[in-house]
């Protein structure tokens, strides 16, 4: 038996059922994909957070902490020179540390070295450390961090 456009009825049924099954499976896969995509809190603007007191951070020293899962390094490179960076190395994500004596950031993983302003000095990192804005009012240090 042949339909109007010349397609045998049986073939048409095969395509119809096959296509229907395909659509059904895709429809079921969509919510699974959405479910597996990391659920995150929505919205959120940049946030100013307290990062300690000037008097507690001697010149040349640094301080590591974590805000909403972001590892952060605050350093006092000079008397009035405060800088904050994401301490995740832009190479492969190890945590860099502040080397006070040499005034450099060093990565323990593949010997990446960054200057006090976050620029790459040597090693494999492809780009500078991500910097965050620091404001100092009186004795209070504040950092603007991305939303968690």
């Amino acid at each position: 038996m042949v339909t109007d456009n010349g397609l045998p009825r049986r073939k048409f049924l095969d395509y119809f059922l096959g296509g229907g099954l395909g659509v059904l499976l895709l429809g079921m896969a969509a919510p699974i994909g959405a479910y597996l995509w990391p659920a995150r809190k929505r919205g959120g603007v940049q946030e100013m957070i307290d990062a300690g007191r000037v008097s507690e951070l001697p010149v040349g020293s640094g301080k590591a902490f974590q805000v909403g899962g972001h590892p952060i390094l605050l350093v006092r490179a000079g008397e009035t020179e405060f800088r904050a960076f994401s301490s995740a190395c832009p190479h492969l994500g190890c945590i860099v540390h502040w080397d006070g004596p040499s005034r450099e950031f060093k990565c323990p993983c593949h010997a990446g070295v960054f200057s006090a302003d976050g620029k790459v000095v040597s090693g494999p990192p492809p780009s500078a450390l991500i910097a965050y804005q620091v404001t100092v009012t009186g004795d209070q240090i504040k950092i603007k961090v991305p939303p968690a």
Binding site: F65, P71, G93, H110, P124
Partner: protein
Amino acid sequence: MGNFLSNARNKIESFMRDRYPWDVFTDFAKHQAHKPLPPHVSWWHTFGSLAVFLLVNQIVTGILLMVYYRPTSDHAFDSIKFIQTEVPAGWLIRGLHSWGATLMIVMLILHMIRVFVMGSYKKPRELTWVTGVFLLGVTVTFGFTGYLLPWNQLSYWATTVGTEVSRNIPVIGNAMTVFLRGGEGISGETLARFYVLHVVVLPWVVVGLVAVHLFLMRVQNLATMDPVGSAPSWPKDQAIRFFPEHVLKEMSVFTVFLGLLLALVIFSPPELGEPADPLNTPAGIKPEWYFLPTYQLLKYFPKTLGIFTSMLPPLLLLILPFIDRSLDRHPKRRPLAMTLGAIAVAASLILGVVGKISESHVQFLGKTYEVDLYGRWLAVHDETSDTGAR
């Protein structure tokens, strides 16, 4: 007693016979057990069954570990410590699982080399080889996901670096890394994802693939060393029966390996190290040994180029039976294939060793050398200046 047993046996048999085509079942079992194998089947042909044995070990010890293990970032480390120190025989179960994983990879590499050298991957067994390469891939993924589960410093940072590499895949790399990790960084979400893969998804995949692999192997019987296309020429009376001859070989090797496995567990128990600290990367992060060649390769080829370079060897492995279409199986008649194979093995070994000693200090002939990222050697003259700073 004997009477009782044979009575019970008769009862079960007649129960089954009344309901099912019982002879079909028993004939199948007998046929499989006594299947005649080609006469050249040797000790080298036991690596595959050793892999099955190790897989069973992984499944049994894995199920036991799940009883006390807790897949959360707060409790994972402590629960492993508890298994290792408090649970009776916990050290044994964890040791068998950890060393079993390593031996499993060793065994697959040996199995693959034997199949390669004997030319058994050639027509008509291409798909047996392809399912084998997938099995190797799944096994390595088992290793990668399992490595994170103890949630210690080494596992945390090796996973950070390992998943970061996938960012370099063009277009989808970033999304893929976030998807794998369940977020931007490695967190409890990553642990949950890896756990589900490790204990549910991968086990089903591996069991399914092994079933197909063994089915294909049995249907076509093991390859002889005759060239592709020539009719199997072995006289039936020289056949090696699967049971008891080959099974006896397998049992002997099992016993030796069980001894080796136990010796490793007892004399070199797996370490636990320090709990993961997301704020502090320790020095000397290295992946598991079977990732070392890739790890080192990636240092010479950065970014996208590195992704392509490191994808090449597995890809070549996958399509090997379709590129190498020469008819000979005997290694003596395949000098080119043997040479290329030897080069591949040597290159992996060299890259692995360089990866292992890179960024460390090595003692050699009484001198200390500092080996840098890329494996370049530098003699250290003043030993005191440099160790203190670390």
